[in-house]
């Protein structure tokens, strides 16, 4: 069979470009040497290995391109990035633009608070400043929640997660609403991790997956097979343990973030269902 699509491009140029995020711990983030590491990065390199094997290109060059939540989709679409290994939510809207590998992580949008505040639920936050990050789904979730429950937060926004966490840390906000894995990672890295807790019910449950170009069946098949292979062999559990329940850089503390039922389910039945399928 003739190879085409991304695989042909990779073969022709002898290089493959991974899109990475710089602070989506522990899926994709920078360590103390500013080298990108993380759960999704490990999975991506497994896929790269599969590409090497398939194309018989052991010397395949791997380039890394930092992407942001703003430009990751167009960069995949326009061919700058071949495989986006960050923390992208798989949604029906996005499936119009790009394709996703089988879901490798499921996140719950919850909130981080200072334990001392005694807050345990979003509904306690009427009239209080609540932080989240600009350009994220959490902004929409909070607004929808406000509308649904007719409470009124004072939203404050950080330009990235670190800034948003700073809003919480410096008491500009009493809660920070975000993906729970990111919250856990930020807390683990903070000055005084014991001070914070992740509380409240999930505002939303979202499948996170590696992103690739649409309408490229050969490459999609290879990616799917690789990821499914990891799931079948149980290797994915090792990777999960490595990043979520063991000490990780840069501070060598563990997130102690047990695997959720939703993720267990996704691993048992590999699929690339969008977030809409997770809504009850």
């Amino acid at each position: 069979q003739e190879i085409d699509g991304t695989l042909k491009k990779v073969k022709d140029t002898g290089s493959i470009t991974l899109g990475i995020r710089e602070s989506s711990g522990p899926l994709s983030y920078l360590d103390a040497n500013q080298k990108v590491i993380g759960y999704h990065i490990d999975i991506c390199y497994k896929i790269v290995d599969a590409v090497k094997a398939k194309l018989k290109l052991p010397g395949l060059k791997v380039a890394e391109q930092a992407v942001t939540s703003q430009n990751r989709i167009p960069l995949v679409v326009n061919g700058t990035v071949d495989l986006e290994c960050g923390s992208t939510t798989n949604s029906a809207d996005r499936q119009k633009q790009v394709a996703f590998a089988p879901t490798t992580f499921v996140t719950n949008v919850r909130m981080a608070v200072k334990k001392a505040s005694g807050i345990t639920d979003l509904d306690q936050l009427g009239g209080k400043p609540v932080a989240t990050t600009t350009g994220t789904t959490s902004v929409a979730l909070m607004r929808a929640h406000e509308k649904g429950k007719s409470i009124d937060f004072k939203e404050v926004y950080g330009k990235d997660h670190a800034d948003s966490f700073l809003l919480l840390e410096s008491d500009r906000a009493v809660a920070f609403v975000m993906d729970d894995n990111l919250l856990a990672s930020l807390i683990a890295n903070s000055q005084n991790a014991a001070q914070y807790a992740i509380v409240g019910p999930a505002l939303s449950t979202e499948p996170i997956a590696i992103m690739l170009r649409k309408d490229d069946p050969q490459f999609k098949a290879l990616v799917d097979d690789t990821v499914k292979g990891l799931m079948k062999s149980g290797e994915i559990n090792k990777l999960y343990a490595k990043w979520f329940t063991s000490p990780i850089p840069p501070k060598n503390v563990s997130l102690n973030f047990a695997m959720s039922d939703a993720l267990k389910n996704a691993i048992a039945n590999p699929n690339d269902n969008p977030v809409e399928a997770y809504k009850k």
Partner: protein, 220 residues
Amino acid sequence: MHQFDFSVIPQSLPFIWQGFLFSLTLTLTAMIGGIGLGTLLALARLSGGKFLSRAAAIYVDTLRSIPLLMVILWCFLLIPIIFGVRMGAEKSAMITFTLFEAAFYCEIIRAGIQSIPKGQINAGYALGMDYRTVMGNVILPQAFRNMLPILLTQTIVLFQDTSLVYAIGASDLLHAAEVTGKTFNRPVEMYAFAAIVYFIICFSLSTIVKRLQKRIAIIR
């Protein structure tokens, strides 16, 4: 009050240095390319040719009216589509900054050329020089000398603007500081540190500019 912890700074230095080198490379590339292209644009704007000066004016006015951030994003997204070449963030930034800064340098150089009394052009022509000789030997050398402080001030602005490449994931001085701040979760310290580093660099540069200005000013 916030617990400051400046121990991240020593750890960040290697990255800050890397970022600084990139900022510097980008600044120099955009300065040299931008001044070259900007001079051509300025000559086009001042040329008698209706079409040429109109086209140059549209280019300059458009770029000057759009935030640099937008230009950076557009170029990064569109160059691969238009030219079909994949381009890393660094290269893309260099091309973008050159094209963008050319518009600003153009206006400075144009003002510089116009600040030379018309008599100088006439004097050159009266001696039998042609357009190229007059521009190359009489007008541009004076225009550049008059405008040098402004050209360099614009370059300092350019140096600060390189921080916008964060939008396309290139790592400059500010970005390096921010990323370290995130990695160690000490953003406040790193922002303060970045402010000081920028201040020292830009202040030294502008002091040098002032010295230079005195040194090379044409005696009148």
